[in-house]
């Protein structure tokens, strides 16, 4: 039987991906250009017995999402730059309390209110460093409607598997454009649920490292009574200031990502084998970059594309390898220079690293990338 297909906006695909992943709770506050994610989920979630709530602000939305997740419901919120900035404190809470949840950031232009209806890619460093204190981060950056669907599912999987908030960032261009989506059949894409505790209610400890780097999380209401806090805590979940316990917990929470990068990283390469210049790009910009690579190849220039789908943790190993192989890396982003700092760092001076960007609300187009490539060669 033929698969279900539809022409969907990226934002709509994101919502459908969440439903496919088993989302049962959305808490949000409307903001351009992310509103369609909420609007579609307000239709779809109640159909599957899920809950949609529009909270009083983005902070409340993030709080509700964490609270809901602690009852076992897969939870998601969607917003844009200003909302993400407001959520920073509670994103840190989700990290330290190790609560799975998915945060969609449909990136618009500018700092502050900026350019609400214009695209941008200027929140990518914030995705790693936005909240205070030490913490790990996972951030995904799809570049098509189909991929937004799939990466939203992957975001839920990673959130549940690693017990932490996962951000999916895509710019307004992919968020609002429409493409054909082929809906996967149930089971066609793996859907991961958080691990249930093996211990009984009496011996259960929510952060028991002896249960593995990612201890199982029980659900409120399921017979377990436990404590969750945003303070530094011991393995039993209760606040502590005992140096050894604090240090161990904080290091575990960062290590659980560092030690599993290969499972979390995902990227695509196009004509990189013999490339002398690599275009390093993600999101809608990577589409311009691919277009540029084709043009450049036609002109006999050995260009290739490296496209991360996971930007946090940073694809350090592969980027470093490519730096050794090529003459130059052109980092194309719709900003004034963000991921380029990471690319530059891991390249260790092995090749020229340059940035090509813009922040005027227009996409980084193939022409300017081609120009930059010719400039550096």
């Amino acid at each position: 039987m033929a698969k279900k297909v539809a022409l969907l906006q990226g934002n709509e695909a994101c919502a459908m991906g969440a439903v496919y992943a088993g989302a049962k709770f959305f808490g949000g506050y409307p903001i351009t250009p992310s509103t369609e994610v909420a609007e579609v989920l307000s239709i779809e979630l109640p159909k599957v017995g899920g809950k949609f709530i529009q909270m009083e602000d983005e902070i409340g939305a993030m709080a509700a999402v964490i609270g809901a997740s602690l009852t076992g419901a897969k939870s998601i919120t969607a917003t844009s730059g200003p909302g993400v900035s407001l959520k920073q404190e509670l994103i840190g809470y989700a990290c330290i309390a190790e609560t799975p949840c998915v945060i969609i950031n449909v990136m618009r232009g500018g700092p502050s209110t900026g350019m609400p209806t214009g695209p941008g890619q200027s929140d990518v460093m914030q995705a790693m460093w936005g909240t205070h204190g030490d913490h790990a981060a996972i951030a995904l950056v799809p570049n098509s409607c189909q991929e937004i669907f799939e990466e939203t599912v992957r975001a839920f999987n990673l959130a549940e598997k690693y017990r932490m908030p996962v951000q999916v960032l895509f710019d307004e261009i992919v968020g609002h454009m429409r493409e054909r989506i082929v809906f996967p059949e149930p089971g066609e894409i793996e859907v991961i649920d958080r691990e249930a505790p093996t211990d009984g209610p009496d011996s259960y400890k929510p952060y028991d490292a002896t249960k593995g780097q990612i201890p199982p999380l029980a659900s409120f209401g399921s017979g377990y009574k436990f404590h969750v806090t945003g303070l530094n805590k011991a393995d039993d979940g209760f606040p502590t200031t005992k140096a050894s316990l604090v240090e161990a917990e904080e290091r575990r929470q960062v290590a659980k990502i560092k030690d599993n990068v290969d499972d979390i990283l995902k990227n695509e390469e196009y004509m990189t084998e013999d490339a002398e210049v690599i275009i390093w790009a993600y999101g809608s910009t990577s589409r311009s970059a691919r277009y540029a690579v084709n043009e450049l190849r036609e002109q006999g220039i050995k260009a290739g594309l490296f496209r991360p789908l996971t930007i946090w943790p940073f694809p350090e190993k592969r980027t470093a390898e490519l730096a050794k192989q090529c003459k130059a890396i052109v980092v194309a982003e719709m900003n004034l220079g963000q991921m380029v700092y990471e690319v530059d760092r891991v390249s260790r001076g092995e090749c020229v690293v340059v940035h090509e960007g813009r922040v005027d609300g227009e996409p980084v187009n193939p022409g300017q990338i081609i120009g930059k490539v010719k400039e550096v060669l």
Binding site: K24, G67, G72, F220, G221, H227, V228, P239
Partner: protein, 272 residues
């Protein structure tokens, strides 16, 4: 006779961190008695708090306890309740946590009339951070950030709750222990947003600065100023100067509860 509080408290957690004479401990006992009266299954009871001395309370209780970020208790609790309406949700927190930084979540939870009980332990000060004034610190009082006397008018927390749509609102003080559990019990049994304001004391950061010789004086003051709302109705305005109305201040059983409203949404969505 002697009440068995221990069975509701996590083993080894006492003595608690609160200072000698801190009213939060008195309120905690009232909460335990209320939870017992309502025969709450602790595995189906969420105690949610923000940050502050008062917000440390859930950590001592043997239940599903959620110690959130400063001011966010009501919003976290809304997520818990919406996602699992089976749970009895009780928020506990201070005046600062609840109506300063937490004000927006507080009033919107009241507006939605979601079925939870919010117990505000109002010691009219930011205790945990060392005694800065809160939105309920009396005008003119001394706090660490009002060296010349507090210029701020106060929130009447109960009035705010009523004004924003809560359907059960009551007030008492730490000097009226039996009323604490009576009112919290009613709040838990009420279907909808219930706010119980318990005026208590912070001898450490408020009492000293404001010339209370001891916590006992603070308790006596609370006893002295409390006037049952019913009685007050019959008293002339001037007699009520500086008094605290106690008891049930507002009770509305008409306004629909939020989770039930959302069940209707689900019915429509699935019916369609």
């Amino acid at each position: 006779m002697a009440y068995d509080y221990e069975k509701s408290i996590r083993p080894g957690k006492l003595p608690h961190i609160w200072c000698p004479g801190c009213g939060h401990g008195i309120a905690m006992k009232g909460l335990i008695r209320a939870m017992d009266t309502c025969e709450l299954d602790r595995t189906k009871t969420a105690l949610v708090s923000g940050i502050g001395c008062a917000s440390r309370l859930p950590g001592y209780m043997d239940a599903c306890t959620l110690h959130t970020a400063h001011g966010r208790a009501a919003a976290f609790a809304t997520g818990v309740k919406m996602a699992n309406p089976e749970m009895t949700v009780i928020c506990v927190g201070g005046d600062g946590d609840g109506v300063a930084i937490g004000g927006n979540h507080f009033i919107h939870a009241c507006r939605r009339n979601i079925d939870m009980t919010y117990v505000v332990l109002n010691n009219y000060i930011y205790g945990m951070t060392g005694g800065q004034f809160s939105p309920s610190t009396p005008t003119g009082a001394k706090a660490s950030t009002t060296p010349y006397g507090n210029p701020d008018p106060i929130f009447d927390i109960s009035k705010l709750a009523i004004g924003s749509g809560a359907t059960f609102v009551a007030r008492t003080t730490a000097a009226h222990p039996r009323e604490i559990d009576k009112l919290i019990t009613q709040g838990i049994q009420h279907k909808g947003m219930a706010v119980i304001e318990v005026l208590d004391d912070c001898p450490t950061t408020y009492g000293r600065r404001n010339k209370f010789r001891s916590v006992v004086d603070m308790m006596k003051e609370l006893k002295k100023n409390a006037v049952p709302a019913k009685a007050a109705a019959k008293l002339p305005a001037e007699k009520l100067e500086g008094k605290i109305l106690t008891g049930v201040l507002f009770h509305d059983t008409e306004k629909p509860e939020y989770c039930e409203m959302y069940d209707e949404v689900i019915k429509k969505a699935q019916g369609a």
